[in-house]
Every structure is written in structure tokens, then in C-alpha cells.
Symmetry: C2
Subunit: 357 residues, 2 copies
DNA sequence: CTGAAAGCGCTAACAC
DNA sequence: GTGTTAGCGCTTTCAG
């Protein structure tokens, strides 16, 4: 049986209250008694029981991260940043990957309303109305990432602008027949990226062609998958002479599928069709994919920091912070004419990060 | 203030014990009262407080996963399987990525000894002696994954055999000058894979050449990184005529770096140098890398299942289960002579999984 | 500065 | 079957 506060109180010849104060860094403990308590606590290897503490104090020292599908790179990279900060602050990270959107509500009720955690990071999912209301009233600290709700702090990516920058990049390379390989239009990012794509074309006065606009109808991961990229690219390649010369693909993972389809068909990239992705997951670097980098690590960091602030200060006005993706130029959008050639006649993979305004 | 067991007991005109029994599926509650309780509980949106429950019952309904470096694909894929099972069973997953091995002890003490969790999954880290002893004595359920200790259930990969199979695959393709691009030899998997490599060469009576054996000295992720693969491959390529015709790379992520180095230098794969990796992370499929597949999902699943068993039944004898990696043949080890060529003159990416004995 | 006492919300005997 | 009661280990007044 691990020692309790009583055991160490007895040894140190003090009341349990004093022991408690010591472990909560309460100022009104004499240095002397404090040291004595610490001494015995240490000797007996005492550690406060988190649940007892949680029950009595209503603080749990842990936060909940709710993410869709546990597996995606995007979330992994965000959570990595989150976890780093939490570890420093002695907080636990509880992770809930929701597979079916309809599971969200039950999970929320169980975990947040009943003092399971001190705060919640809610990523990429629609916050149910019912809960939005309840959280605001009951002061449960919530921070949203990659999703928006007026009543909460939100950290989101500027998908529209990002898509527009991506498209303009292709235009600046001289492309005029530009396609978009999109995910499922049910998802907000997919909608926004389509919008950015269209606006860029419009601005450049390039007419839109319906056959160059393709999107996934798959529900799995909202179509942000290798397979969807592969399949849709096959459709593009079947277009014959009406093929685009460049394509904006709405995620790196789809782009990797698209590249595979091209390789199989003998269509070269960027010579025949240039490609630009979205996300800048690690994979993008490995396959030399030009893409729009989302500042995942930064978003994760800022989101937790904000959550901590909110946990300290009940009533902060919600802030809405937005991140602009950055253009990262790699091989799949190299300008053919200016391409560097080395001794062996091959192209080096290199990464150029451009700061966009 | 959320309703407590007292609130709903009052409404339902029963004692709190009865309410408690209802929520713990205790058999001795009449169907009638049970329904009445449930009715009011539902109406008042009652949910038991996890911490109060944990304090009183000594069960927390959550398990801890301790992993090194939060980011690696290998762990992500294992945890994905873990999380899937936990979600079904209504358990919470608490995640601790340890960045510095010396942090392990403090973390362990804080979380497991004091009833923070019901059980622990311990991945890829050395279990400190002190704790091994303590856990066994205090009956804390622990299951190890990708690491071994005689006192606990362990699920590990047969690195030696896997490496041997990989090497034999290259030999069977006709290669005789075979190199190994290894991670940091400090790490156990690196040692074991080197051992398997050597034994396969020996068995085939191929003399070993020191210049074909290279390993990382980097500490970051024990050298299992893209950068290390890139750097070491550059060294191989500098070997000139003494270059190997095939290389066993000890992880997919290193192989991706190696491939990049080859591309930059104009060395073709598999024509000039064939490659085989280890892991079969998602990336491997995307870049057409032949590799040894580790059954990560299966390991994760079996590990939690075993953990659950152990949580139910205090005193089980530790089991030691081992997984044999499977050869997955893709483009980087294609047999040049028998390669399929399609109309466009390009090679299709295809995956062949071979069952090995 | 410190001890005593009253809970936090629930579980688990123990009676009836 | 069901109510009652004593904790689980800690925090937090309230006195002194």
C-alpha cells in the first residue's frame, strides 16, 4: 500500500493539512516544517493521489484532446507540439480519436461535464450546438483548432488564401490549364480550398473548365487519402488532350496517390503535369512535393498556451487566430526551363520556402 | 452544477446505493426501480464522476501508454490499434511521450504507483529495474511492446530473423555485394538487425566487407531518421567501384533518405543499387519501397487485449510473444530482368506480400 | 503558521 | 432488493 498523507503527517508530527499545504506550495508553511515534511515524504516515496486530489480540488491536471481519426499526420504533428508543452507543465494528455461523428456528443458529456479534465482541445470537428452552449455557461475551458465557433478561441488555417496562393503559384509558372483534385466537398477545408482555387483563376482571368474540377465522394477521412488521389488522377489522365498541365491537389497524401498514378501511366511530373499539394507533412519532403505548409506545430503550441490562459482566467473574450499557409517549392512544380541539371543529368531534390504576404 | 448521485436518488425516491448499483450494472436491482432510476438520470443528464468513482473503487478506467518520442510512425500505428480497442471498452488512453530516458522513472512513479491508471503499456523503452520489481510486487498490470523483460508480458519483433530474411531476399535476387545501412548501434533493434544481416551473409557464404557496413552515430531517434539515411547513403555512393549492388536499410524512414541521395546522384534504384527497408510504414507504399513489414496493428491489439486479461486476473504467468516481420516486395528490389514494362515504358508500382516461414 | 473537521461523489460492505 | 453507513485520499475552510 502506498503511503497516504496521513502516514507522512504522523511521521513528521504535523497535521494532514500541513502536509497538503506543502504539496500545494501554499506560502504559509514555515521553511522548517516544510523541509521536515518533504524529508519524510521523500523517504517514504510519497506521491499525492491524483484522483483524490481531483475529487477534493476540482482540478485534474489533465487535458483532453479530441481528434477525428487518430491516424492522420496533420493531427500527429499538432499533438506532438501539445504533448511537449503538457509534459513540461506536468499535465496529462488524454486522447480521444472519434471515428464516427455521432460519437462526439456522448464522449463530450462523459469527459468534460463531469470534471474528468481541466480543459479541452477540440480539433477539426464541428462543435455540437448543445455543447457550445453548455460549455460557455459552465465555464469549461475549450479551445478549437482547425475548426471555428464564435463562442470559443479558434485557431484555424486560411484555407481559402492558401489555396489561392497555391493556384497562383501554378499560374506564375505559366500554366493555364489548371485542375483541382479535391477531397470530399462535405468537409469544410475542401470547400474552402475549392473557393480559393476558383478565386485565383478568376483573378487571373482564366476560364474555369468543369472537367478540370474533380473531387472525392468517399467518406473515409473525407477523401483525404492516397487512394482518392490515385483514383481521381486516373480520371484526369483519361482526359487525353484535355488534360491539365498543372493540378492543385488539396492534400499531400492525395498528391502522393496522384503521383503514383502518373508514374504508372508514364506521365512525368512536373514535365507533363505539375503538382502542388497542401499540408507539408513529412512525406512531402521525401517525395519532393511542392505544397502549402500548414504551421501545425505552431498551432498546437499556441492552442495549448491559450487553453492554459483560459484555465487560469475564466472569462476571457474568445480570440480567433488564423494561420496563413506558406508556399514550399519542391520538384513537382519546378520550372522546366530553369531546372538545374547536375553531372549525372538528374534533378536534385531541394526545398525552397517562400514567404508569402 | 452537474447532478450527483444524491440528486437522482432523491428524485427517484431510492437510496444512493441503488443508484450506484444501477450504474454499475449490479444484478440485484429490480427491473422496475432500475428503469425509474435510469429515467431520472437521463432526464437530469446525470453521468458518474470518474474521479469519485476512481477514488472509491480503485478503478480508473484508463490506461497509460508510455512511448519514446511521440512522433514516430511505428508508435502511431501501434497506438491507433490500441485506441480503437480502448474506445470500444470505454477506457481512456493517457499518453506520455518520453523525450529523455532519464524522465522515465519520475513519470512512472507519479502515474502508476498512485492509482492514476489501471494498467500500462510500455513501448520500446528499457523498464527500470527498480520498477520492474515494484510492479511485480504491487500487481500493477504492465505489458511491454517492442521491448523485453522476463517479469512482464512482452510482444516483440524478431529483428534478427527479419533482417536475415531481408538480406536473403537480396541474395536471392543475385546480389553479392550487399551493404547494410544501419541506425545507431546503441539501440537494440539496430544491433539485432545487424546480427541478422551478418548471419544471412554467413549462411550464403558471402564474405563480409567492412566498407559495406555503415551505421549512424546520431542520438536523435537513435539514428532512425531520413537525414541519417541520406548521409550514410552518400558515403556508400562515394565508394566508387566498391559500391554495393544492394543495401539492407534498417528502417523505411532511413531508406527514404537513402533514395533521395541516390536520386540526387543519378544512381538508379533498383537498377544500380537495390534497396530493402524495415517497418513498412505508410510511406513505404508511396515510394515503392521493398521492406520488412512489422505487424504494428496486430501487436497493438494483442498487447491491449493481454493487458485487459491481466487487469482482470492478477496473477497470470508472463507470456513472451514474438512477431516475424513479413517480406513486402515493391519496386526498389525488383528483379531487373523480369521487370514488367507497360505501354508507356514505365514500371507499375505494385506490392507483393510474401509469406515467409 | 498550523491542527481539526467537513466534505468532494461515489463504492461497497452491512443490515433488514 | 434496497437503504444506510463508512470510507477512498486529499483540499479547504475555520479556529486558534
Amino acid at each position: 500500500m502506498p503511503p497516504t498523507i496521513y502516514d507522512i503527517a504522523k511521521k513528521a508530527k504535523v497535521g494532514i493539512g500541513t502536509v497538503s499545504r506543502v504539496f500545494n506550495n501554499h506560502p504559509s508553511v514555515s521553511k522548517e516544517t516544510r523541509n521536515r515534511v518533504l524529508h519524510f515524504a521523500n523517504r517514504m516515496n510519497y506521491h499525492p493521489h491524483p484522483y483524490a486530489r481531483g475529487l477534493a480540488s476540482k482540478r485534474t491536471n489533465s487535458i483532453l484532446a479530441v481528434i477525428p481519426y487518430f491516424t492522420t499526420f496533420f493531427f500527429i504533428e499538432i499533438l506532438q507540439a501539445v504533448q511537449a508543452i503538457l509534459a513540461e507543465s506536468n499535465y496529462d494528455l488524454i486522447l480521444h480519436g472519434v471515428t464516427h461523428p455521432e460519437h462526439v456528443e456522448g464522449m463530450l458529456r462523459k469527459n468534460t461535464v463531469r470534471g474528468r479534465v481541466d480543459g479541452m482541445l477540440f480539433l477539426s470537428l464541428k462543435m455540437p450546438k448543445k455543447f457550445a452552449h453548455e460549455y460557455v455557461n459552465s465555464h469549461v475551458p475549450v479551445v478549437l483548432v482547425d475548426t471555428y465557433h464564435p463562442d470559443f478561441d479558434s485557431f484555424t488555417v486560411e484555407n481559402v488564401k492558401g489555396a489561392s496562393i497555391a493556384t497562383k503559384h501554378l499560374i506564375s509558372l505559366g500554366h493555364r490549364r489548371i485542375g483541382i483534385l479535391n477531397a470530399n466537398l462535405e468537409s469544410t477545408p475542401a470547400q474552402e480550398r475549392l473557393q480559393g482555387f476558383k478565386s485565383a483563376l478568376k483573378e487571373a482571368q482564366i476560364p474555369m473548365e468543369q472537367c478540370l474540377i474533380k473531387h472525392s465522394t468517399s467518406v473515409r477521412l473525407d477523401g483525404f487519402t492516397h487512394e482518392d488521389g490515385y483514383g481521381l488522377m486516373k480520371q484526369f489522365l483519361a482526359l487525353g488532350t484535355k488534360k491539365p498541365t498543372a493540378i492543385f491537389v488539396t492534400s499531400d497524401i492525395q498528391a502522393s496517390g496522384a503521383l503514383q498514378a502518373m508514374e504508372e501511366t508514364g506521365i512525368r511530373c512536373p514535365e507533363d503535369i505539375a503538382l502542388i499539394g497542401f499540408d507539408d507533412i513529412e512525406l512531402a519532403r521525401h517525395i519532393g512535393l511542392t505544397t502549402m505548409r500548414q504551421p501545425m506545430s505552431e498551432m498546437g503550441t499556441l492552442a495549448v498556451q491559450r487553453l492554459f490562459e483560459r484555465m487560469k482566467n475564466e472569462k476571457l473574450e474568445p480570440i480567433f487566430r488564423t494561420f496563413l499557409p506558406t508556399l514550399v517549392v519542391r520538384r513537382t512544380s519546378e520550372l522546366i526551363s530553369s531546372r538545374e541539371v547536375n553531372q549525372q543529368g538528374t534533378r536534385p531534390i531541394r526545398t525552397v520556402v517562400q514567404t508569402t504576404n
